[in-house]
């Protein structure tokens, strides 16, 4: 049993803790958290243990009726590995702590590539993670792009990929972000960081991205234009590649899915925890070929797409399962079909 500590309990930490608790080969040591809010209270009800930065935080938690089990330092001592899911500016500070205690750690995609020894997407570079001290699970958008560009490259060879990212501006629990009624170029300059970030995982694929933020909370929408090295492409051949790909779900307008809202409703119908959609969503009827270019729409559920990758990265570091075994086990526990 791999002893896993989760430090930070926001969008990613909460989901990773639940996913760890579902793995037959992992045990959730506990959660590092600074504030005793509704998220902590719900998780305490599940029997999760909470660890706080300093002894004097314990009083704040006990005043809120939540028991604590020690300090974050003590949690780390107990763990084999730490999943750092703290805010972007905190993770880099925690790295020193993990180094001092000599434990491996996962960081999230909000951190820079060079915080870790490897930027990770299970399907693309699982085997390279073994024995690494620090691994960065790349961001939701980068994960989404890697999951489709890697199989397209294997099947047809990618000459150049271009993606326009229409990004949700705020997560559902975020009431301070905007815009309310505008399209914000984020950034105005091209490329956005996403293309270069994909190349930290897939260095041989050229990816150019343009990004904007818009007033939705649901998902990111990628409009992809990919030049391939084959000329006899068809919609069917491209869709077959997506069917074979891991963690990619095809939807269609004929099936009633025409927007991100219906994707999220679909996830709730499936009974997913928190209504999460771990898979890339590709509209099969959007897939269109012009000469050697394929065009399609893809949805990325920003809150959950990286959760399976966090689980796989843990096994990849310890080398306790092969890539295929880990992906299959993670998928089964999270009810992701293939």
């Amino acid at each position: 049993m791999i002893q896993v500590a989760v430090n930070g309990f926001g969008v990613i930490g909460r989901r990773t803790a639940d996913a760890v608790a579902k793995q037959p080969d992992m045990k959730l040591v506990g959660i590092g958290k600074t504030k005793p809010d509704y998220k902590a209270r719900v998780a305490a009800g599940k029997g999760y243990k909470f660890f706080v930065p300093k002894k004097d935080h314990q009083g704040i938690f006990s005043d809120a009726g939540i028991e604590t089990s020690g300090t974050i330092d003590e949690m780390i001592e107990e763990a084999d590995i730490i999943v750092d899911a703290t805010p972007d500016n905190i993770g880099i500070l925690n790295k020193g702590l993990y180094q001092k205690i000599g434990k491996p750690a996962l960081f999230q995609g909000g951190q820079k590539h060079d915080i870790a020894d490897l930027s990770f997407v299970a399907e693309c570079n699982y085997d390279q993670a073994q024995g690494k001290r620090f691994v960065r699970v790349v961001s939701c958008n980068t994960t989404g792009l890697c999951r489709v560009l890697s199989p397209l490259d294997k099947s047809f060879g990618v000459r150049r990929a271009r993606a326009v990212l229409t990004r949700r501006a705020a997560d559902p629990d975020d009431t301070k972000s905007g815009p309310i009624d505008a399209i914000s170029l984020d950034p105005v300059t091209i490329p956005s960081h996403h293309g270069p970030d994909v190349m930290t995982v897939l260095p041989k694929i050229e990816v150019i991205t343009m990004a904007m933020k818009i007033p939705t909370t649901h998902m990111h929408l990628h409009s992809l234009i990919v030049s391939l090295n084959e000329s006899n492409l068809t919609q069917d051949r491209i869709n077959e590649t997506f069917v074979e790909a891991e963690r990619v779900r095809l939807v269609s307008s004929a099936d009633g899915v025409r927007s991100t809202a219906q994707v999220m409703d679909y996830a709730r119908e499936l009974g997913r925890d928190r209504g999460d959609m771990y898979e890339n969503i590709i509209w099969s009827d959007s897939v269109t070929v012009f000469d050697e270019e394929v065009y399609f729409f893809m949805g990325v559920h920003q809150e959950s797409i990286v959760i399976p990758e966090n689980i796989d990265a843990i096994r990849a570091i310890f080398g306790t399962s092969s890539k295929e075994e880990s992906i299959s086990l993670t998928n089964t526990t999270l009810a992701i079909p293939h």
Copy 2:
């Protein structure tokens, strides 16, 4: 003086009426309208004459304190030309009326290409409009694309243009449209109608468009990826082409414009009627070259971008001004700089 009647008084009709009233060579005969609402009341205060479908509508208007000047048939008799700005499903019905009375008419981009003898953008095909009975001023997105693709083609030769259209879902006065919190693919299939529509004006340029609707009211945002027939492209050379282009305004993040909200605020600062932005907005610092491809962001103010084209189309049909004279006069009256 060209006697102009405006039939329909929604987003385009209101603006066209005001623009006609500003032209030294045109006279606004009046406005065809069915309901005596706040828009009619404000316009009546400007001295505009209202004409109604049937005699018995006059009572409804007089009950609302708005005087009427006759029927729409009578308005058409008085006019040299009719600008039809009625809803999409009505314009096609009106065509028979204009034909019967033997008057030329302009239709808007919501109508199909084949309603008219020519789909029109001033910079692209002004001279072809002379003597035509029915001319269609293409939609806001098509107008925006034509205004930039035509000069790019003249300067460098366009091999293929691709545009992802992030579309405002509702105009500011529209309280019934959605989505509230989603990205709606509109349509899921590729290409959207915009690319083929550009080719009704610029038949030699291949344009492939993908479109979605999002929860804003402000503007459409185009993410463009254009393959050109030159290899020594630079940001400066592309921006020089845009500086020379008609009705294209360059903005930049350094100047504080990073979103559609700031573009609209800018238009209000300029003192424009209704806060309108008639020009294509191009972010000069987004213009980026990768080999023979140029990437950039462009904003399109859906409510107003076609207004100068409606004015020019009137002169183009009668041949009373050259293309250059008409564009210059329209720009001066609407305070559009070159």
